[in-house]
C-alpha cells in the first residue's frame, strides 16, 4: 500500500457501494455531526480565529518557499541534539531505513504512534515482510488493525465502526496477538477503552523500539511535536530505548515561536477541543529521560512533486486535522474508503493526485471529481488551503494528461460543443434541433419541475449514466434568439 489502497476502484464505483451501506451512512452521519458541533463551539469562542488561520497559512507558505534552507537547519539542530537524521526519497527507502534500525537492535516488534506518514508509505506491511510486527497503539488504529480493515478518516480511522462492531472485533481478535479482551466486555465506550488499555500495556512495557511520525518539526531547535489524546503516544515516545520518527519534509516550521499558532489551530480544528489531552515535545536525546537513541527519517515520497505545482503547492500546508472531512457533504455520505487512500475526503482528493501525479492511474484521476465544489472545506481549513481551486486545476490537469489517443466521452462532447458554438449559423441550427427535441420531450415527459417545465429523467445512449441520478429540463421549444427575433426584443 503506497498512497492508495491496492486494487481500489475509481471513486464513482467505490462511492456507489458505500452509499448502499446504511450502517456506514448512519455511523458517519452521527460522528461527523458530533465533531462539527464541537469544532464550531471552540473555534467560535476564540477571538481572532481568522487572523490565526492567516498566520498559519503565511508561516507554512514562507517555509515551503525556502524549504531547502529550513530542512538543512532542521538537520543541523537535530544532529546537534544527538539525533540521527536520515533522508528517504520514497516509501521503499523510508521503510528500509526503519526496518534496518529495528534489526540493528534485534527487535522483532515495534510499537507505533498513530502516524499518517507511516500509513502512507505502508510501513507496517514492509516491516511484516521483514518479520517485524508493528503494533498500532492508537485506539482507532488498533480497531482497524485487529479488524484487518482499512482506515477511513485521518483523525479517527475507525469512524466507520460503531461500538457494537468494535466490541465484536476486540472479542474475536485480541487473543491472537496478546492479552485477550475480557469475556464480559460490553459495548460501553469506557469498557472498550479499558480493554485496549489492558491489551496494550504489556506491549508498551516490553517494547524496545518505537516508531512515530510528528505533527511539527521545529528547524531552529530540532524539536519534534506529537499531538495526541490517549497517552499511547507518550508511552511510545518515552518507554522504549530507541525511537524512530518518520517525518514528511513539509512538517518543518522555522521557529519555536511558530508553534503558538499551530498548537491553537490544530486541536480546535481536529478534535474540537481547546487543547488535546497530551502534547509531547522532544529535541533529540535527553540524557536519563526517554529513548537514548533517536532517529528522524525525513520523507519526500511525492512531496517535492506537489511543491512544484504552482496551484497545488498550498496542499503542503496541511496539518492533517481532518476538519475538511467532517464538513464535506460528499465524505459524510460515502465515507473514507471510497477515496481509496489513507488520505480521504477533500484533502485526499487533492493530496493523492499531487503526491502521485495524474494521468497514470484511473483511481487517482477520479479523485479531483469527488467533490461538488461547495467550498465548505476551504472555510473549515485552519491553514486556508483553497481546496476547490486546487480541485478545479487538477481536473484540468487530468483532462490534459488524457489528450491524444482515443478521446474520452466528455472530450468528444466538448469538441462538438466547441464546433457548434463556433458560429452563429451552427448554433442557430442546433437550437432549431433542440427545440424539436423539446417539443417531443414535452409531450413524452411524465414529470415536470416546480416551475412546470417538463423534465427528461432518462437520456438516451451515452447520456444514460449521467441522467441516472439527475433530471434534465427538456430543451425549450423556442430558443431565446428565436424569441427575440420573432418579438423584436419583446416589443411585439
Amino acid at each position: 500500500m503506497t498512497g492508495t489502497f491496492v486494487g481500489m476502484p475509481a471513486f464513482p464505483t467505490a462511492a456507489r457501494a458505500a452509499l448502499a451501506d446504511s450502517q456506514l451512512r448512519s455511523n458517519l452521519a452521527h460522528a461527523t455531526s458530533t465533531i462539527r458541533a464541537r469544532r464550531l463551539a471552540v473555534v467560535g469562542e476564540l477571538d481572532g480565529w481568522e487572523e490565526l488561520r492567516l498566520a498559519g497559512a503565511a508561516i507554512k507558505d514562507n517555509t515551503l518557499l525556502h524549504l531547502d534552507e529550513h530542512l538543512l537547519a532542521l538537520e543541523a539542530s537535530l544532529t546537534a541534539r544527538g539525533a540521527v537524521v536520515h533522508w528517504a526519497r520514497d516509501a521503499d527507502e523510508a521503510c528500509r531505513i526503519v526496518a534496518g534500525i529495528a534489526k540493528d537492535h534485534g527487535a522483532d516488534e515495534v510499537v507505533k504512534v498513530k502516524s499518517m506518514a507511516t500509513q502512507e508509505i505502508g510501513l507496517n506491511e514492509a516491516l511484516a515482510a521483514e518479520g517485524i510486527a508493528a503494533w498500532e497503539t492508537d485506539l482507532a488504529e488498533l480497531i482497524v488493525q485487529l479488524g484487518d480493515d482499512l482506515p477511513s478518516h485521518i483523525l479517527v480511522p475507525a469512524i466507520h465502526r460503531n461500538r457494537a462492531e468494535i466490541r465484536q472485533i476486540f472479542l474475536d481478535k485480541m487473543a491472537a496477538v496478546g492479552r485477550p479482551a475480557p469475556a464480559d466486555l460490553t459495548d460501553e465506550p469506557a469498557r472498550l477503552a479499558e480493554a485496549a488499555r489492558l491489551h496494550l500495556r504489556e506491549k508498551f512495557l516490553r517494547a524496545r523500539v518505537a516508531v512515530s511520525g510528528a505533527n511539527f518539526a521545529v528547524a531552529e531547535t530540532g524539536s519534534l511535536v506529537v499531538v495526541e489524546s490517549e497517552g499511547n503516544g507518550r508511552m511510545c515516545l518515552t518507554l522504549p530505548d530507541v525511537l524512530v520518527s518518520v517525518v514528511g519534509i513539509e512538517k518543518v516550521v522555522p521557529t519555536w515561536a511558530d508553534l503558538d499558532v499551530f498548537l491553537q489551530l490544530l486541536p480546535r480544528s481536529s478534535t474540537g477541543e481547546r487543547m488535546n489531552p497530551y502534547t509531547s515535545i522532544w529535541s533529540g536525546v535527553t540524557p536519563g529521560d526517554g529513548p537514548q537513541e533517536v532517529h528522524v527519517v525525513l520523507l519526500d515520497h511525492g512531496r517535492t512533486r506537489a511543491l512544484a505545482d504552482e496551484v497545488g503547492r498550498q496542499a503542503l500546508r496541511c496539518i492533517r486535522c481532518s476538519a475538511c472531512l467532517n464538513v464535506c457533504p460528499v465524505y459524510e455520505r460515502t465515507g473514507g474508503h471510497a477515496y481509496g487512500s489513507v488520505y480521504p475526503g477533500p484533502i485526499g482528493a487533492i493530496l493523492n493526485p499531487l503526491l502521485r501525479g495524474v494521468g497514470t492511474d484511473d483511481q487517482v484521476d477520479s479523485l479531483p471529481y469527488a467533490s461538488s465544489l461547495c467550498g465548505a472545506c476551504f472555510e473549515a481549513c485552519p491553514v486556508r488551503i483553497d481546496i476547490p481551486a486546487v480541485l478545479v486545476d487538477l481536473r484540468a490537469q487530468v483532462v490534459d494528461a488524457h489528450r491524444g489517443g482515443v478521446p474520452r466521452p466528455e472530450a468528444a462532447v466538448m469538441r462538438s460543443a466547441s464546433w457548434v458554438l463556433g458560429t452563429a449559423r451552427r448554433l442557430g441550427a442546433a437550437e432549431r434541433a433542440s427545440g424539436l427535441v423539446g417539443r417531443v420531450a414535452g409531450r413524452l415527459a411524465r414529470r415536470s419541475s416546480s416551475s412546470g417545465r417538463p423534465l427528461m429523467s432518462r437520456l438516451p445512449g451515452p447520456g444514460a449514466g449521467w441522467s441516472d441520478a439527475r433530471d434534465l429540463p427538456a430543451p425549450p421549444a423556442e430558443s431565446f434568439r428565436a424569441w427575440w427575433k420573432r418579438t423584436e426584443g419583446g416589443h411585439r
Binding site: T34, T221, N232, L307
Partner: protein, 197 residues
Amino acid sequence: MSARDEILGRVRSALTQADRSPVAVPTTHRGRVHEGDLVELFVERVEDYRATVTRCADSEVAGTVSRLLPEGTSVVLAPGFEWSVPGAAVDSGLTAVQLDSVGAVVTGATVGIAETGTLVLTHGPGEGRRLLSLVPDVHVCVVRASQVVADVPAAIGVLDPRRPQTWISGPSATSDIELDRVEGVHGPRTLHVVIVD
C-alpha cells in the same frame, strides 16, 4: 547521489519558477488582552476536562495531596518536589514495570495555561522523568497560581524548547468510538490539579 542531495535538489528545482518573496505573517494572536481572573479561568477550563481542582495555601499542600488520594495508595514523588507528602517515596529511578504497580504520582509543573486549561511539565527538578507522570494511573499535579499564564502564545514565550515537554489537558481520553469523548485510556485516568495560592 545521496538521498539528501537528491531531495534538496528536487526542492530547489520545484521552486525555480516560484515567487519567493516573503508573505506577511499576522501576529495579532500574541498579546491578546484577557479580562477577568486568569487563575479562575484556569480552574474552570481544567475542570471542563473532568480533572479535579483544589486550591490551597502553601502550608496546606501536604494535607491537600494526602486527602486527594485514597488511604493505602502507594505514592511516588518527583525528585526535587518542594513539598513533603506523608508516606510518599521519592522516585529513585523506578523502571516502567515497577511504576506500573505504583498507585499515584505527585509532581510539580512549569506553566499552567488558563485559556486552554493546560499544564506543561518540562521534566526538571520537581517534575520528574517523563515516564513518572505517565505510567501510574493517578497524577496529582501541583502548580503555583503565579505559574499560570493567559494563553498558548504566552506559554510558548516562556518555555525552553531544549527541555522535553509534556502538555497535559485533563486525564487521558479518546474520541475514537463514535467520536464520544471517554476519559481514561493509556495515560493517568485520574488527574488532580492542586493550585497553590
